[in-house]
């Protein structure tokens, strides 16, 4: 039997990484505390663009949390053996990313000290209210799922619990998309397509994060991921990136033709300054086309570095897309009086601009550092390293199915 084994890791490197991750996390929390004390006047947000960079990063992590669980689901729910050893790491990342994303969103609240009120109050007409149920159950289900995957005596339950977690994550991301999908007031949102679109976004972003973490863990342990396993997973990433492009295209098409939001769509895609630039240059080119080339173009597609670079670019593209979606959707003025020219002291009728301030940037980056630090500790204290019995997989044909 040929099982690739985890090798002894370097204590010094671990504590150094822990210190760096912890420090950046602490700076992020301190930045949030500064905003809490001084008020959001020290942020770049205002009464028109009131959800800023922390929401872009926080929502990215929350969406990716659901998507990263896909890897475990493919293994234990859909029975693909090549993915089974990756289940525990997938579950750990799901928990970690959700925790980090929620940390950013909660720390950005105007009154973060009152978050217990939201946790103890039920308003079922509020998607945020649903989240107070969706997120804790997700934590519980995924925790249970990881237990059934890692404790051999509980392996028999992994498919049942995994199926429940899989369904729950779809519901959860439906909820995340519906945060915007149910907003009737704004041109950018109110669209039924946002729920499935966010699910497909989660697939791509979650897998990209998984591939990066897996590569780093293998590199740190001086292990080599089997090229055919890498090829399988990079092909899946390619499919997800293509599907994201498709959904984003349909979202804009429905806005133009069905919802008659021509002016808004023109703003976001053509005339809106930074937003079209980030959409076409950041999301479409850097975050989608270049990764697809890296994953499929001859000369690149077998290269380990190409897959990792494509994963990083997919993440960057996701952040660009969310920036355009969340900030652009608020920057464009509300259309209260169709066909009329509107002016006011409250900037009605005016396109707003938003520049994130340093505390917002530190909080947002701090959230990623929280995810990094929690993952680092997680993979240190428990055995999350995906270890493949390559010979067995190969002889059974599982590297190709």
């Amino acid at each position: 039997m040929m099982i690739q084994q985890q090798t002894k890791t370097d204590d010094g490197a671990f504590y150094f990484a822990l210190a760096v991750g912890g420090l950046i996390s602490a700076i992020g929390v301190a930045a949030a505390l500064y905003m809490e004390i001084m008020g959001h006047q020290v942020s770049g947000m205002n009464n028109q663009v009131f959800w800023g960079l922390p929401h872009v990063f926080g929502i990215f992590l929350i969406v990716a949390a659901s998507g990263v669980l896909n890897v475990a689901s493919i293994g234990s729910v859909f029975g693909k053996k090549a993915y089974k050893p990756r289940g525990p790491l997938s579950g750990l990342l799901a928990i970690v990313l959700l925790a980090a994303g929620l940390a950013i969103i909660m720390l950005d609240l105007g009154r973060a000290d009152r978050v217990i009120i939201a946790a103890t109050h039920v308003n079922l007409t509020s998607v945020f209210g649903w989240n107070m149920i969706l997120y804790p159950v997700f934590f519980g289900l995924v925790g249970l799922y990881v237990w059934t995957l890692m404790d051999r005596s509980k392996n028999q339950y992994s498919k049942t619990v995994g199926t429940a977690a899989f369904i729950w994550r779809l519901v959860m991301t439906t909820g995340t998309g519906s945060i915007f999908g149910f907003i009737i007031a704004r041109q950018a949102y109110q669209s039924a397509i946002l729920a499935p679109m966010f699910i497909i976004l989660s697939f791509a972003w979650g897998l990209a994060i998984f591939l990066i973490v897996q590569e780093i863990m293998y590199a740190r342990s001086k292990m080599e991921l089997h090229p055919q396993l890498r090829a399988r997973m990079k092909n899946l990433l390619g499919v997800f990136i293509g599907a994201v492009l498709y959904f984003v295209a349909v979202y804009h098409l429905t806005n133009v033709y069905y919802a008659k939001q021509f002016e808004f769509t023109h703003f976001i895609l053509v005339s809106g300054g930074i937003f079209p630039l980030l959409f076409w240059g950041g999301f479409v080119l850097l975050g989608s086309v270049v990764p697809l080339l890296l994953l499929y173009a001859p000369g690149f597609n077998e290269n380990k570095g190409s897959v990792t670079a494509a994963s990083y670019l997919t993440i960057a593209g996701g952040l660009f897309l969310l920036f355009v979606f969340i900030i652009g959707g608020q920057a464009y003025p509300l259309d209260m009086f169709p066909g009329m020219q509107v002016t006011s002291s409250f900037f009605d009728g005016k396109v707003d601009s938003y520049t994130p301030s340093l505390p917002e940037i530190l909080l947002s980056v701090g959230g990623f550092a929280i995810a990094f630090t929690m993952t680092l500790v997680g993979v240190r204290v428990l055995r999350f390293m995906p270890q493949d019995d390559v010979a067995k997989l190969q002889s059974a044909g599982y590297l190709h199915d």
């Binding site: 009131f50 973060a112 009737i184």
Partner: protein, 250 residues
């Protein structure tokens, strides 16, 4: 299989446990209560569902350039803070100037919370801080708002403001607070005493009389009779929110 790092892993876990225990002890000190019960007195009489407070704004009487209503609102509700970025300042009521680019016809009107019968802000609020009283007035409970700003995303009228800084010199009857969302209350503190909102009073004092406040449910009230007689408009009527503020002349 190898057993990597078991010793150092146990060491790390042990150190982490000691650290966490230390933090816990420090956080829970004698006499410190995590939750204390608020001792507010209950109002003697609640709002009545028989009443639907509303406002009718005659844009043909509203003068462009006049902001008496805005000033009166700010004075009544203690909105006096100065922010470096004016986009971060609270505006419970604002004057909007409209111009039809085809005909050149212009209108001026005050815009504020429209006190919807079906308020999207109340629908989306995760804490119940955004609420509608039985008499139709939409309010934010400043003591339970967590400042998530989801209601601001949901409001079709840009009627809500987020308080971006620490406030001083507040009107005791109008609690406001940093980190919370707020909006026009129809001067509920005045209405509950049988008075009209400050903006309506100021408009009358300026001899424009463009704003009429009253009970839309009371068929004998001036507002109900005017609404029955003249063509009025609900802004974003397509959303079917059945707003309490109606406009005449647009």
């Amino acid at each position: 299989m190898t057993e990597p790092n078991d010793k150092s892993r146990r060491g790390f876990l042990g150190a982490a446990a000691v650290g966490a225990a230390g933090l816990g002890v420090a956080a829970i000190a004698p006499g410190l209560h995590l939750i204390e019960v608020s001792q507010a007195s209950a109002p003697s009489q609640g709002a009545s569902s028989k009443v639907r407070w509303g406002m009718l704004i005659d844009t043909t009487k509203c003068a462009s350039g006049c902001d008496a209503c805005v000033k009166a609102c700010n004075t009544e509700n203690g909105i006096n803070e100065v922010l470096k970025d004016p986009r971060q300042a609270s505006q419970w009521i604002r004057k909007i100037d409209l111009k039809d680019p085809k005909s050149g016809i212009a209108h001026s009107l005050p815009m504020m919370c429209q006190h919807c019968e079906h308020p999207p802000c109340v629908d989306v609020c995760p804490t119940g801080a955004s609420m509608k009283r039985a008499d139709g007035i939409v309010l934010v409970d400043r003591h339970t708002c967590i400042g998530c700003r989801y209601c601001m995303l949901a409001c079709p009228y840009k009627a809500r403001s987020f308080v971006h800084m620490t406030l001083t010199e507040q009107n005791p009857e109008v609690p406001r607070g940093q980190g919370c969302v707020e909006s026009c209350t129809f001067c509920v503190q005045r209405v509950d005493k049988g008075q009209i909102p400050a903006c309506v009073e100021a408009c009358a004092n300026a001899e424009h009389n463009a704003m009429l406040f009253g009970d839309l449910n009371d068929l004998n009230s001036a507002i109900a009779q005017r609404v029955a007689q003249v063509k009025t408009t609900q802004v974003r009527a397509d959303l079917k929110l059945n707003v309490g503020v109606r406009y005449q002349g647009i």
